[in-house]
Amino acid sequence: MRRVSPKRVGGVVLTLFVLGAFIALYAPLVLVVINAFNKNVLLTSWAGFTWEWVKQAIDSGRVRSDFLTSAEVAIASSVLALAIAIPAGLWARAASPRGRQLLDATTYMRIVLPEIVSALGLLILFSRLHIALGIVTVIIGHVVFNSAYAIVIIQARLATMTTALEEVAADLGARPWRVFWRVTFPFLAPALVVAGLLAFAFSFDDVITSTFLAGSGTETLPMLIFGLARFRVDPEVNAIGVGLMVITLGCLGFTLLVAQGRVTGGLVLGGFRSGEET
């Protein structure tokens, strides 16, 4: 961090304030991490480092099965989100300004509206339609918000792409779907990676929608944590929480790398570098 000139007291105050705010924001996370490795079961004070709780969490059948459920939900809902977002983004390019506005409005609505409302709405809908709650309904619930994020990301990418390259491809004899496959898709690839990873991360740590739509037989990892923490916060919960954090941060970190174009060259074979001029 750059040193603030002592004359600029205002600057110092501002720095301290921001620093304080960030400490307050991140302290809980730090506590979770510390307590995941704390020998003291009651978590009242630091009693030394241990892998005990992490091992306990990994050995627990419930934790493992919930982890798998979460992973399935996250993967399925991200893939479905992309499957909706790609055609939506392509459609928006050719759509009238009005059509685009409509898509934007409905997309942002899914992001802005309280998640609990859409979860509730889906719960009512599923019970009306006599659809049994379970992993499928959770996946559908996650697609509601995941697809919105994916559309925003894909649209942002498409906004930087003129139709010029696609015209070139058509001029060289490529049929419309070949144009998509050989030009549009490679151009979109980095955005698809980013959107997919973000969707995965959002899905993986979701509690509200999952709780509403899982029914009695299905449980995701965040639901487990939430359930356990209602009785008492033991070190194992912290350990599971750390695991969740690692997965989510891993996704976000990778997303950032892709967004900066560091990994795309190798990862997305033959893909366009993100941010590359067309």
Binding site: A170, D171, L172, R175, R178
Partner: protein, 379 residues
Amino acid sequence: MSERASAIRLVDLTRQFEKHVAVDRVNLEIYEGEFFSLIGPSGCGKTTTLRIIAGLDHATSGSVLLGERDIGHAPAYKRPVNTVFQQYGLFPHLNVFDNVAFGLKERRDPRATIAESVQRMLDLVGLGGRGGSRPRQLSGGEQQRVALARALVLGPQVLLLDEPLGALDLKLRRQMQGLLKSLQRELEITFVYVTHDQEEAFSMSDRVGVMNGGKLEQVGAPYDVYQRPQTFFVADFVGAANCLRGTVKGIDARGTYTVQLTADDMMFTATGVPGLALGAPVAALARPEAGKVNASDAGSLCARGSIADVSYAGPQIAYRVSSNGLGDLSVFCKADASSGLLELGRSVELSWDTSDLWIFPIDQPSTQPAPEAEGADAS
């Protein structure tokens, strides 16, 4: 003319955007193996015309014939024409080889033939060793050569070029012009070249078409278009021009006009656009490079005045002369060591041989405008 095989024929081609008519009833025939250029200022409809031929845009009415076949409704990917775009349009995710192979793969040529065709074409444009490079590793000129190879490798019946050299600097442009011309001769493919640079068009083309406001104003060999413009726009667009307004006062048996200038009532005779009527408002085109300074003789159009501006451009000197009666005139002189520069304010006599003048019709508010259909239907 009719004995030559037609490569492309545009019939009453019109393209209307909302209220703006980008291409207005264009009729044009381009012959096989010809280097044809469409020139005009930006927004004149030349690029739209090219895009309609390529199938990237569609005409509101009228038709596009390729040979004898109407291709107006065929999608771009089915047309045996290819385009070289101004911004190159190379696929950044493919290397040079794969860029050139793009269309061949779409055509499902066998792998071995593809490699061979691509290599041959890359050699032809002088990029034989660059197949593995990425487009961004190439200079602008090299990128444009890749784009050229990518289009030519498909052996199109017609190659469309949309200001392909617009993004290059002057020296590179000259080189590329040479390459384009020699490739065109070698491959005997019809080139339709769009540019706003009339000099570029003139130096490369067999014929040029001048467009203005969506209309094709004149089609002809560069020499004809330059020396014998049919309209004021053409006269003015294809080079520097002094246009002296006047009226037709007499027509002789060989079609030579006697014209009286509006400004100073001077009378002279000169040839011009055939079919002008007595009393028609006209202009006499006097090209600056045909003008002479202080060298008048009999049978010439003369004007006295003083030098108002001198600009020295190496091989030639351009003078602007404020004349008595004819307004500002410009004249270009050869800049040889013996003649030196004339100083500002010096009084001079300008003259043009009447055989160097050309009479063409102009619109005047008081008279009826020339029928538009005739204007688009050039020689």
